[in-house]
């Protein structure tokens, strides 16, 4: 059954959610909140952004009505699935002090069993990247691992590209090829609205058994492939990744960093919306009488001044050094650390930057100035 493709009609998608609920999953998917498509708990298909799409560009995000009733007719919003696997705020443990004894009680909250509905290929790759960060080294983050092991993933292949998308450059999409339980391609053809579903795992096959399906015809598969291929042709951005690590390592003192620093507000938006950024800080709190304490982990950002503080001052005091740290980590040192780029080309950092700084543009500027110098020397 793995690798098999079947059809689900639009009216049977609710059944898919119902079966997941019956199996004990908390279904999470795209829905509209405060003018954006975000990921949150959904119980019904009606909560999906039916008939909506998004328009994205540097520093711009707008919802717009579609002229059809597509369920997944948009790309990615400000949230990523990171929010569920690597929670923004997490209590690590509590400590109790009485007299001369100290007891530390690890957080044993029940871990939710999530079914993610509508994971894009770039986002699947972001999950694979965080898997490497949290579960592939000498230490394992038990909080991430516990959540990750339980998830059920319904991927959605993109049939349109967003204005800031560049998954094709990063080789992370638009078609989901691995790592999902089920993958949907949405097809609206005249009056017919259906989904070509690829089965990725036994777990996926088991869920599908309780949902009305039909075998997919070669023409259906062709139609799905064509739509995805079309999306691949329409990427809003491009990033040349040739020798990108070496390019950035040899340009740590490039004047472009000073230039981008005049625009960057160090607001940290890019790191919050990034589906792979993993940095955290910890906060220690006590009750008023000092008998109980708690340690809480929170998302942090390399754009804050505090991030690199050691006694005497911050290592990265200038805006330039903080932007450089983020970009070179994402695209260069990440490769040394985890054997993969830290960027999946989802474009969120471009869209949600309040001043529209564009990671692809910054790299291009450095690359072009280098090749200009080179041709000058040859000239």
């Amino acid at each position: 059954m793995i690798g098999e493709q079947v059809l689900i009609e639009r009216q049977d998608i609710q059944k898919l959610l119902d079966v997941l609920h019956q199996k004990g999953y908390e279904t999470v998917g795209p829905t509209i909140r405060e003018g954006a498509i975000v990921y949150d708990q959904i119980a019904s298909v009606e909560e999906l952004p039916i008939g909506w799409t998004d328009e994205q560009d540097g520093g711009t995000y707008r919802l717009k009505r579609r002229n059809d009733q597509a369920l997944f007719g948009y790309v990615v919003g400000p949230y990523s699935w990171k929010k569920f696997l690597h929670p923004p705020v997490l209590s690590l443990w509590k400590a109790k002090k009485s007299g001369k004894s100290l007891e530390i009680i690890p957080n044993s909250d029940e871990i939710p069993q999530y079914a993610f509905i509508g994971v894009r290929s770039c986002e699947l790759h972001a999950i694979f990247i965080q898997d490497r960060v949290f579960t592939n080294g000498k230490f394992t983050d038990p909080h991430y691992q516990a959540r990750r092991q339980k998830i059920f993933i319904i991927a959605v292949n993109c049939v349109q590209a967003g204005g800031t998308c560049f998954c094709v450059s990063m080789k992370t999409g638009p078609k989901a090829t691995v790592g999902f339980d089920l993958a949907l391609t949405e097809i609206i053809d005249g009056q017919r609205h259906y989904f070509v579903v690829e089965v990725g795992t036994e777990k996926g096959a088991e869920i599908l058994q309780k949902v009305p399906t039909k075998p997919a015809q070669p023409s259906d598969k062709k139609s799905a492939d064509e739509r995805v291929a079309q999306a691949a042709q329409r990427m809003g951005r491009q990033l040349d990744t040739t020798d990108i690590k070496e390019l950035l390592y040899r340009n740590l003192e490039h004047p472009r960093w000073d230039e981008v620093a005049t625009r960057c507000l160090t607001c940290a938006n890019c790191t919050m919306v990034c589906p792979t950024c993993f940095c955290t800080t910890v906060e220690d709190v006590t009750d008023l009488i000092g008998a109980e304490a708690e340690r809480v982990r929170r998302w942090d950002s390399c754009f804050t001044l505090d991030f690199s503080y050691v006694h005497g001052g911050s290592v990265r005091a200038s805006v330039k050094s903080r932007y450089r740290q983020w970009l070179t980590h994402k695209l260069a040192s990440w490769i040394d650390q985890f054997g993969t780029s830290g960027c999946v080309g989802c474009g969120r950092c471009i869209t949600w930057c309040p001043v529209g700084i564009d990671i692809t543009e910054e790299v291009r500027a450095i690359r072009q100035s280098e090749s200009a110098q080179l041709s000058e020397r040859r000239g």
Binding site: W93, S101, L102, K138, F139, T281, A293
Partner: protein, 289 residues
């Protein structure tokens, strides 16, 4: 006031979650300088604490927070956990007010270590600046415990003033040995309080006894001190792969997850804190990396 508790010999404690500290009880405190103290801890359950010279722990002060501190005890005495702490921050200041019997939380040991095993057969030169002597002391203990395995050994130590020197009694003891060259200098001193060398620690390097081709250098101190020490060692003919340094960065987790300690492609907490110099030379000295 000295309170001594006797820990028993039982197996090493294992915590499944690397973010959860294990309680340790303060046994003894010694004042080193006006703001620096050496603490000896014993685990509450009596377990031993094996570590390698140069490694560090995350020390948790109840309700206040956690701080990375290198281990400064003898690696062959794992029943006692020794840390030298200078009161400079929000955690270390109240930390330095701990009294024997008080309990802290400990996570570790973390990070890379000084190459004391690999250096066997070679001469060793140890260059320390200020509190940088603390992470080097376990390496000195190891070398002295196994003195016969090494060639000539030189310990060069620089402090800001005579009052800022750590481990004075031990320095004097080591200096009294016939098989170790110990040189100490201070940046500044009043004539009536100090008759020794005055000047920065790098001034001691030209007179250290070692064979430049068969020596391992272990260096720890402020980055600026390490930079100039490396230059002096290079002048003596050392290659970059003979020099080891210990780096310091902000740390929240010590296990490579929080991202704070990144230093180029390295996580100081897991790839460091001890680095062979040739592996970081491209970024060492670059501003704000």
């Amino acid at each position: 006031m000295v309170v001594t508790l006797k820990p028993q010999q039982i197996p090493v404690a294992v915590s499944t979650d690397p973010m959860v500290p294990v309680p340790y009880r303060l046994l003894r405190v010694r004042r080193e300088t006006s703001d620096t103290f050496t603490f000896e801890f014993g685990s509450v359950d009596g377990s031993r604490f094996p570590f390698a010279p140069g490694q560090f722990n995350m020390l948790y002060l109840f309700g206040v927070g956690e701080v990375p501190i290198s281990i400064s005890g003898d690696p062959e005495r794992p029943e006692i956990l020794v840390h030298t702490v200078r009161a400079v921050g929000t955690v270390t200041t109240p930390f330095c007010k701990l009294k024997p019997g008080d309990i802290i939380g400990v996570r570790g040991p973390f990070g890379s270590s000084w190459p004391v095993v690999e250096a066997a057969g070679n001469d060793v030169v140890i260059v320390a600046g200020g509190v940088g002597l603390a992470p080097l002391r376990p390496a000195i203990y190891h070398i002295l415990n196994h003195r016969g395995e090494y060639g000539r050994v030189a310990v060069l130590y620089g402090a800001r003033s005579p009052g800022d020197m750590l481990y004075k009694k031990e320095l004097a003891e080591w200096r009294g040995r016939f098989d170790v060259q110990v040189e100490v200098t201070v940046d500044a001193a009043k004539p009536d309080e100090w008759q020794g060398n005055v000047g920065v620690v790098t001034t001691l390097i030209p007179r250290a006894h070692f064979d430049p081709h068969h020596v391992t250098a272990l260096v720890c101190g402020p980055e600026i001190m390490m930079r100039f020490t490396i230059l002096e060692l290079q002048k003596r003919g050392l290659r970059d792969d003979q020099i080891y340094i210990s780096m310091e960065r902000n740390m929240k987790c010590a296990i490579g997850f929080c991202g704070h300690c990144q230093y180029g492609p390295n996580f100081v907490c897991k790839d460091g804190p001890v680095f062979r110099f040739d592996r970081v030379k491209e970024i060492f000295g670059k501003r704000e990396i």
